[in-house]
């Protein structure tokens, strides 16, 4: 039986050649199940961002194997011809800063992805509004990004990551600019959405506040990952006002 989430085996990435070559990833192994949220923790320079870029199909690994569900996307070379389409349809991104498109309102920021995938505008907007309702920001649907608070912007960026129902979400320090309450709320949302949409979520973080919320954590150090069971207890402490409807 195939593993349905993300599966990474022996992933390596080398920058440069010869004496100046740097091995950023030295054999990463990871598995994240659908509906699961795992933490990826490590000090600066440990290879977190490189791993995220490889997973996000924006840089090519040097060796190893990656698969999303039943699809092998990398095995000593890309197995997908159109990486842009792969990123659009199979991977959702949540960044440290929300990076919403400043000239689109909240609905169109979220609806842009399905529109790019060819969905009619009205249908894409309907799907976006449904997600915004689920994330409790539907009341700001017509607002411009500059009119939103940091927490609202991050929820909109999560909606954007989810809108094409990708099997994987890569979140790069999504709680860094937020206070404890809002950070926990974002992680709660990611957990809830992961369960609801059967999405595998990898959260790269330094944030001590949210590390205890993960049930499974991958530590990365010098380009090698080590798996560890997390405490998975953060949500009980989170206030009800951040509960996802």
């Amino acid at each position: 039986m195939h593993w349905q989430g993300i599966k990474i085996e022996g992933l390596r990435k080398r920058y440069g050649e010869g004496d100046t070559a740097v091995d950023a990833l030295k054999g990463v192994d990871m598995r994240v199940a659908p509906g699961e949220v795992v933490g990826l923790v490590g000090p600066s320079g440990s290879g977190k961002t490189t791993l995220l870029k490889c997973l996000g199909a924006v840089i090519e690994p040097t060796a190893g194997r990656m698969s999303l569900g039943e699809d092998v996307i990398y095995d000593q070379g890309w197995k997908i011809s159109d990486l842009r389409e792969l990123r659009r349809d199979k991977i959702g991104f949540v960044f440290q800063a929300p990076y919403l498109i400043p000239f689109l309102d909240v609905t169109d920021n979220v609806a842009l992805l399905p529109m790019l995938a060819g969905l009619p505008n009205e249908e894409a907007r309907k799907r976006a509004v449904e997600l915004l309702e689920a994330l409790d920001v539907a009341h700001r649907a017509k607002a411009m990004p500059s009119q939103l608070s940091g927490g609202e912007q991050q929820r909109v960026s999560i909606a954007r990551a989810l809108v094409n129902r990708p099997p994987v979400i890569l979140a790069d320090e999504p709680t860094a600019p937020l206070d404890s309450e809002r950070a926990l709320a974002v992680i709660r949302i990611l957990n809830d959405m992961a369960r609801r949409f059967e999405t595998a979520v990898i959260v790269v973080t330094h944030d001590e506040k949210i590390i205890p919320t993960f049930k499974r954590i991958y530590h990365i150090r010098d380009g090698i990952t080590y798996e560890e069971a997390g405490e998975g207890r953060g949500f009980e402490a989170a206030p009800d006002k951040f509960a996802v409807k």
Partner: protein, 400 residues
């Protein structure tokens, strides 16, 4: 799919509108330059139309009377009247000078015509006020662009003239308004000297033993009298009889009178190809420079706007936006900027054209070509920004 370019323009409309207004003023100048050229051509054609002539008879081997000076004896027209196919012939003189009007000078082309009615060659074709010149001396008909009023008195050289009629669109090829006076006055004005110069000339002539011979009474007076008379005109304007072609009439005059004769088509060619050719080149150079400056401005603005959106472009690329979509967005913005600029430029040129001292003719066809050229410039100018955008690595959105 929504229009990313349109949304961006709407979002930062102030930036686009103000930039578009700046570009528009430049385009307005460009359209006006083209209008100045068209105005010069139209002035030249108006000059020919309003002269009422079918043929221009001028001094042999000259391009007169507009492109070069030409001098004919004022009795030449009598011989021309006898040539086959000639209906009417009239002398005419042209003299560009400052006409004194109160405390100010008005640069005008003073035209000497034989007093007569409308339809005579050289006469102003129509009047908008007053009457034609009927007396032999000291009456004038002026183009309204001179700002002279009926009954006003103007000074040409030492003589005072009364404005008895006003006409319109009677200008020289360089756009100076015309003032019509009687031919004899115009001939005198061309060579009229001040009193001191006349006294000095008479003294010099009296001192010359060739003219002041003791045994030849009356010779000195005759010579002095001939020095103060001008028997030259610049051209003879000819109207031909129905049934004759201009060339049929022109050829015998050239052959038998040993004079240069130009038809309407030849004269138009002379005016446009020779008289205003340098000005046209000058304007053409301006148009080229303005086009380059417009392109540089559009390129710079679009490039700067694009660099300001590098992070958004990286995110768009990361989430799967096609390069074509991003290039289209930038190109549409450049074109949008061009459209704003064109609208502003066309309005600006239309508003300020009447205030120019010379005639500015804004032709729709020039505006259409201008719009087309601007769109091409905008598309080319966006290439630099598109190149920068396509180089953006989607990995920049992830950071690290």
């Amino acid at each position: 799919m929504i229009s990313l370019a349109g949304r961006d323009i709407l979002h930062s409309w102030g930036k686009f509108v103000f930039t578009g207004v700046g570009l528009g003023l430049l385009i307005g100048v460009t359209l006006t330059m083209a209008g100045v050229y068209r105005g010069m051509v139209d002035d030249g054609k108006a000059l020919l139309d309003n002269s009422g002539a079918d043929l221009w008879v001028v001094q042999k081997d000259t391009l007169g009377p507009y492109a070069e000076s030409s001098s004919l004896y004022d009795d030449v027209y009598r011989g021309i009247l006898g040539m086959p196919g000639v209906a009417r012939a009239a002398n005419v003189t042209y003299l560009t000078m400052q006409v004194r009007h109160g405390e100010t000078d008005v640069r005008s082309m003073v035209v000497g015509v034989v007093p007569g009615g409308p339809g005579e060659p050289g006469q102003p074709g129509y009047l908008i006020a007053g009457r034609q010149i009927t007396r032999g001396h000291y009456e004038a008909v002026a183009d309204v662009a001179t700002k002279f009023k009926l009954g006003e008195r103007i000074q040409i050289r030492r003589n005072i003239y009364t404005v008895v009629g006003l006409t319109r669109r009677m200008v020289s090829s360089s756009g100076d308004p015309m003032v019509f006076i009687a031919l004899k006055d115009a001939q005198a004005a061309q060579f009229l000297k001040d009193n001191d110069a006349i006294v000095h000339q008479r003294r010099r002539t009296s001192a010359n033993p060739t003219y002041n011979r003791p045994g030849v009474p009356g010779l000195l007076n005759s010579v002095i009298a001939s020095q103060s008379i001008n028997t030259s005109v610049n051209a003879v304007l000819v109207q031909i009889l129905p049934g004759f072609t201009p060339e049929e009439v022109a050829e015998p005059i050239r052959r038998w009178k040993r004079l240069q004769v130009y038809t309407r088509a030849q004269m138009e060619d002379l005016l446009i190809r020779k008289l205003i050719a340098t000005s046209a080149k000058q304007i053409g150079m301006f148009l080229v420079i303005l086009a380059i400056v417009s392109a540089a401005i559009v390129a710079f603005i679009i490039y700067t706007l694009t660099l300001g959106k590098i992070r958004e472009i990286a995110v768009l690329k990361l989430i799967g936006t096609k390069n074509r979509t991003i290039a289209g967005m930038i190109m549409q913005q450049a074109v949008g900027l061009g459209i704003i600029g064109f609208v502003v430029g066309k309005i600006a040129a239309t508003v300020w054209a009447p205030f120019f001292p010379k005639y500015v003719l804004l032709e729709p066809v020039d505006a259409a070509w201008g719009f087309f050229a601007l769109m091409v410039i905008c598309v080319l100018a966006s290439v630099l920004a598109i190149r920068a955008a396509l180089k953006v690595d989607p990995a920049e959105a992830i950071g690290g």
